[in-house]
Amino acid sequence: YSFFPGRPTWPSHRRHLTYAFAPENPLSDEVKGVFARAFARWAAVTPLTFSPVESFRTADIRIGFYAGDHGDGEPFDGVLGTLAHAFSPPSGHFHLDGDESWVVSGDLRSAPMAAIDLESVAVHEIGHLLGLGHSSVEESIMFPTITSRTRKVDLAADDINGIQELYGGNPDGNLTPPSTPSPPSVQERDMSRNGAA
């Protein structure tokens, strides 16, 4: 695991963080539920808690889907390539490439090649929002790349060690992460088969 230069974190008196979605992205409750699950995975292993709010302007974390150049100097590039980016604390900006084919749930094994699992990318970017950099550990969530049609949402020991170095553990002990509503993706099935998990 690694951190951003200067090791930025949310201030110690800020353990409850709010998040909101860009008003120009009308999202279904199902899609919002994907982000709630992703935040819950980090909450399960830290003292942090998260809750959605209506006001995009005042939320700690602001989530939006944008295509191409969206004004932060890091234009998105259409299908595949760069999927999303999120900035270090306390910026709270979380941008996803609106041109990707984001999949909310379901069996990715029969998905088209361009399908990207939304929750997998959300869990990774939230790691950045909390202060984690990228990691060389391939099974970690903070590994920079992901193969399309792959679901990878469970925090690895590397992720947990890194985030707990920043914030400490969950005062109630590491809680079980939210259940995954869909059958395992190709990668998860293969990993479990060869015990790599």
Binding site: Y1, S2, F3, F4, P5, R7, L27, S28, E30, V31, F65, E74, F76, D77, G78, V79, L80, G81, T82, L83, A84, H85, A86, F87, G98, D99, E100, S101, W102, V103, V104, S105, G106, D107, L108, S110, A111, P112, M113, A114, A115, I116, L118, V121, H124, E125, H128, G133, H134, S135, S136, V137, E138, P144, T145, I146, T147, S148, D158, N161
Partner: protein, 127 residues
């Protein structure tokens, strides 16, 4: 394009041609070679922190590119050849997060290493 499940993705969206697929033609390129497209690869490596920003990259496979590839291969647990081998090209073309792997030329992806203690430093010569 957000889809509740994979079956609702329209076939016309099943595009897989990505801008980074162009790097495949650089396979086998070696130091000293000059090949159209190497400048785009340098732009990619600059985007993710492996090469310092530069106003214009050349299509020459120079020592800076080789060093950047070695750092990239180290970070992604690949054979550190400094060359554009199959494994490295396959990794480069994978979809990924837009945040750089190396920020302010001093962060590292290695486990347990806090930022600032990095084996990855740019050696730049000021002119």
């Amino acid at each position: 394009h957000i889809f509740p499940n994979v079956s609702s993705i329209p076939s016309w969206l099943n595009k897989t041609n990505c801008a980074w697929n162009q790097f495949q033609k650089l396979k086998g390129c070696r130091p000293g070679d000059r090949l159209n497209g190497l400048s785009n690869l340098k732009t990619y490596l600059k985007q993710f922190g492996y090469i310092p920003p530069s106003p214009n990259f050349t299509d020459l496979f120079d020592p800076l590119l080789q060093s950047a590839l070695q750092t990239y291969q180290t970070n992604f647990n690949l054979n550190v050849t400094g060359l554009l081998d199959d494994q490295t090209l396959a990794q480069i073309q994978l979809p990924r997060c837009g945040i750089p792997d190396i920020i302010n030329n001093s962060s590292s992806m290695n486990s347990g290493k806090p930022t600032g203690h990095s084996a990855t430093h740019f050696h730049s010569v000021s002119h």
